[in-house]
């Protein structure tokens, strides 16, 4: 199973950090830079602007060439048209998307593997029996079990700074402060790259979650949903968020973490999300 560090690494990958491969096309120049830096040669002063320029060109060209291919959200139908999507998106956000999708697939299969290993658990045996009697392939049954939508975590995050203002979660997760910062950075990166389209980034797929983002004036609400994210759930989530935001402004508790978290907990308990 994927451990917490891997999850953070995955998010980091999304941010293109420390990615030597990304700079493949300019790697020769980078290694020259490395050397000159090491030798403390004055040359480095001359070389770095060239590399910078190339990197700049690289990022500048991404949105221009394939901007229209990005629609309302970054939601990717992996199963349907994996290769097509990879092809279409690849130049836009570069390797970040490609890596992300391949990680996504890797993790999906890891998760299925794990479920298969549970074969001797009572759940597993029950599933096996059901599979024998119903004729449905066991793996398909596992996939449908994975697909049940469930709101796992809700984060209220300050816009700009990415500071976590409050959260609600059904189980312990990776570091919330880092998730908040990184989500904010991804959001900023994507929104910046597609400035002309004036679209807020509305969702990010990450791990086995879809993270739904809902912007308000000073903050945004990020909800991690596991399973299949349906239109219906999206509507429910948006209503839920509106209710929360009303309460936040009524009680002015945006910067009162305890009160905010109490509100999230309370609202979450009483709100009924449909789970198909």
């Amino acid at each position: 199973m994927i451990n917490q560090d891997d999850k953070l690494d995955l998010l980091r990958t999304l941010l293109l950090t420390d990615d030597r491969q990304l700079a493949e096309s300019i790697s020769t120049k980078i290694s020259i830079l490395e050397e000159t830096l090491r030798e403390k040669d004055k040359l480095s002063e001359k070389i770095s602007p060239i590399i910078r320029e190339e990197l700049e060109q690289y990022t500048l060209n991404m949105p221009k060439t394939l901007g229209p291919a990005i629609t309302k959200t970054l939601k990717i139908q992996i199963q349907e048209s994996k290769d097509e999507v990879v092809e279409a998106l690849y130049p836009i956000l570069g390797k970040m998307i490609k890596k992300y999708i391949s990680n996504e697939i890797k993790m999906l299969s890891e998760s299925i593997d794990k479920s298969t290993k549970e074969a001797f658990s009572s759940k597993g045996i029950k599933r096996k029996l059901m599979s024998i009697f119903s004729g449905v392939k066991e793996n398909d049954m596992i996939i449908s079990a994975l697909a049940k939508a469930h709101v796992e975590q809700i984060f209220v995050i300050e816009k700009g700074s990415g500071i976590l203002l409050g959260s609600y979660q059904t189980k312990e997760t990776v570091d919330e402060d880092m998730i908040s910062g990184m989500l904010t950075a991804i959001k900023a990166f994507v929104e910046d790259a597609f400035k002309e389209t004036h679209h807020d980034l509305q969702s990010i797929e990450y791990d086995l979650y879809e993270i739904h983002l809902h912007s308000f004036h000073k903050y945004y609400i990020a909800s991690a949903v596991s399973g299949t994210f349906t239109e219906r759930l999206e509507n429910e989530l948006e209503n839920f968020n509106f209710e929360i935001s009303e309460d936040i402004s009524k009680k002015s508790i945006l910067h009162d973490r305890d009160a905010l978290e109490a509100l999230l907990l309370d609202r979450f308990k009483t709100y009924k999300f449909t789970e198909e």
Partner: protein, 160 residues
């Protein structure tokens, strides 16, 4: 506990990433990997009775500060401007860049540091300090000198 966003800025190769790694993981590596995009790490520091949660954003190196994606700098509570004392080019625009940061992102603290003091000849640091009085602190990410102090100083300014 209060959380604060700190952004590390400065030219290519001055040691921004090394500084954070020294502070957060207590490690140093001679490898130079270009940071692309932004990298986020965190560490808490204790100042008197206050625990301050520093969320540290590492940026790509740019010689021109205006090239950093503005959205990454929004809402920053404090900047650390890193220069390399062996490369004058990395501090020649310090004053202008500080003005730019304060004008664009609010009147928040900016601490300017000169990194790589370990490369100086023994005994020349005092002179260096005098010559480079526009720097607030001289540090070495490699050896760790003044690194903890730097972040504590920042935290102190942020809760004052």
């Amino acid at each position: 506990m209060t959380s604060k966003k700190i952004v590390i800025v400065g030219s290519f190769g001055v040691g921004k990433t090394s500084l954070i790694r020294r502070f957060v993981d207590e490690t140093f590596s001679e490898d130079y990997k270009v940071t692309i995009g932004v990298h986020i790490l965190k560490k808490t520091v204790e100042i008197q009775e206050n625990i301050v949660n520093l969320i540290i954003w590492d940026t790509e190196g740019t010689d021109d500060i205006e090239e950093i994606r503005k959205a990454y700098l929004l809402g920053t509570h404090g900047f650390i401007y890193v220069t390399d004392i062996t490369r004058p080019k990395t501090y020649e625009n310090l004053a202008a860049h500080k003005t730019y940061l304060n004008e664009q992102f609010g009147n928040v603290p900016i601490i300017a540091v000169g990194n790589k003091t370990d490369l100086l000849a023994k005994g020349s640091i005092a002179q260096m300090k005098e010559d480079m009085d526009f720097l607030d602190l001289l540090i070495s990410a490699k050896e760790g000198n003044n690194v903890q102090r730097l972040f504590e100083r920042m935290a102190k300014m942020l809760i004052a």
